[in-house]
């Protein structure tokens, strides 16, 4: 906050700041509660400046969600699993990173669930969600393909197992996020590791960090 007010209200980073303020508010209050005035206030900008960059509230929210996932993609869909010593270790990292870890991971997950709802409801947001899922699917698919090619995993269709993995991460992850008593983070990790281990012919204990 002090960072924001110390800066000039305009300039090349103003748009950035507005988007960051918007994603923070989406995560803390829910997308439906986000008002232009509060975003402006948090970003240390005027509502006029927000409107200068984003003509409507919906556009601001769509861009904020999009950017939030693109930023996450740089980290999450980056080098982690690929840099691992083996495909098995890479998959263990993927399982860890795709479930809602406390802090940043949970914050990102809240945005993820908000995106589901908006995209389910608003067809114009579906391309955003579609792009997210596409890069997510490619990333998970690469992790699996690597193990299939190296012979660490059974010879499965990597894209099909990627679909299964994503469905497990989403279904187990959302339960863990909303504190289902049957599904803490550890159970979610264990169940994902067991299912993917069985699917790929890998010892599940090698898939839990």
């Amino acid at each position: 906050m002090e960072e924001a007010s110390a800066r000039r209200p305009e300039g090349p980073d103003a748009r950035e700041r507005i988007l960051r303020a918007a994603t923070e508010l989406i995560a803390s209050d829910g997308i439906d509660e986000v008002r232009i005035a509060r975003v402006a206030n948090r970003a240390g900008a005027s509502t006029a400046l927000v409107h200068h960059y984003f003509s409507t509230r919906e556009e601001l929210l769509a861009q904020a969600l999009l950017q939030s996932f693109e930023l996450a993609a740089d980290e999450r869909f980056g080098a982690g699993p690929a840099a691992a010593a083996s495909a098995t270790e890479g998959l263990a990292i993927a399982i860890e990173e795709c479930l809602p870890t406390p802090g940043e991971g949970e914050r990102e997950w809240v945005l993820w669930v908000e995106l589901w709802l908006r995209a389910a409801r608003e067809p114009e947001l579906r391309p955003v969600a579609g792009r997210m899922y596409e890069s997510y699917r490619e990333w998970v698919g690469r992790v699996i393909r690597r193990g299939v090619e190296s012979g660490e995993f059974r010879r499965v269709d990597p894209d099909e197992v990627a679909d299964l993995a994503m469905a497990l991460f989403d279904g187990l992850g959302v339960r863990s996020l909303i504190h289902d008593p049957a599904m803490d983070l550890e159970s979610a990790r264990r169940l994902a590791a067991e299912r993917l281990g069985a699917e790929l012919g890998v010892d599940p204990s090698a898939l839990t960090a």
Binding site: G30, D32, V110, V113, E114, W116, L117, A119, A120, R121, R126, A129, G130, Y133, R145, V148, R155, D157, P158, D159, E160, D163, L164, M166, A167, L168, F169, D170, G171, L172, V174, R175, L177, I178, H179, D180, P181, A182, M183, L191, R195, A198, E199
Partner: protein
């Protein structure tokens, strides 16, 4: 405490059915009590007599929706004798008939509202118990392997939710087939049984064990080159 208003002619179920329709159309945030009242052919006070808040309306509307689902499902289940056919029927019913927008709405509200979280938990537990009961029956009849029935139910419920998110966000027509096949395959693998997942491999699939390979030939981009060479 206060005298009961004269609203008995507008029943609670009618209000809930109206609420479910309006929430699906507009989303909970844009749903006003007045809209629900209008749809149900009554007045806002009549709605507020039965329901204190929109969150309560959502949770109750889903409960009613769920109740209807279970009634229909039980009727359907009775058409089948063997637990494995019953399980397959339940998985198909959950993948096909559900209104996922309401479920996703429920998750989002559950993130911030404890009462909604409880309502979601109650609905989820019930579904898991129904599935687990069929699994136990199948294990008793020697149709299924001896996996932990509650855990299988939990996994199946989670997988179906995750698949439903994908199907809802992508093309629903394409999504449902794949969703069913994936859920049935996992149930088969967990319970060491045949549920007929292969029948969902492809619209042109023959349902035999080789259909997995048939779909790879029909849809070449799905197949990795090595596997295709092996098949040819």
């Amino acid at each position: 405490m206060s005298p009961r208003p004269q609203i008995d002619h507008v029943r609670r179920p009618q209000i809930l059915a109206a609420a479910a329709e309006v929430i699906v159309e507009r989303g909970l945030v844009k749903t006003r009590i007045a809209d629900v009242a209008e749809r149900a052919g009554t007045s806002p006070p009549a709605v507020l007599y039965w329901f204190r808040s929109k969150d309560e309306l959502l949770a109750e509307a889903l409960t009613v929706d769920e109740e209807r689902f279970y009634v229909e499902m039980r009727e359907g289940i009775h058409l089948f004798e063997r637990p494995r056919d019953q399980l397959r029927f339940m998985i198909e019913a959950s993948a096909e008939e559900y209104d996922w927008i309401l479920w996703i709405e429920l998750w989002v509200r559950a993130l911030r509202d404890p009462a909604t979280r409880e309502a979601r938990q109650r609905l989820d537990n019930r579904w898991r118990e129904e599935i687990a009961a069929v699994i136990r029956a199948g294990q008793g009849a020697g149709e299924f392997g001896d996996a932990d029935a509650d855990e299988v139910a939990l996994l199946l419920g989670s997988l179906i939710d995750g698949l439903a998110v994908q199907a809802t966000l992508n093309d629903p027509a394409v999504g449902r087939e794949r969703m069913l096949r994936c859920a049935l395959e996992m149930a088969e693998s967990l319970l060491d049984c045949e549920l007929g997942a292969a029948a969902y491999e492809t619209a042109a699939g023959n349902g035999s064990e080789t259909s997995k390979y048939a779909v790879r030939e029909t849809v070449p981009h799905l197949a990795d080159p090595e596997l295709r060479r092996e098949l040819e």
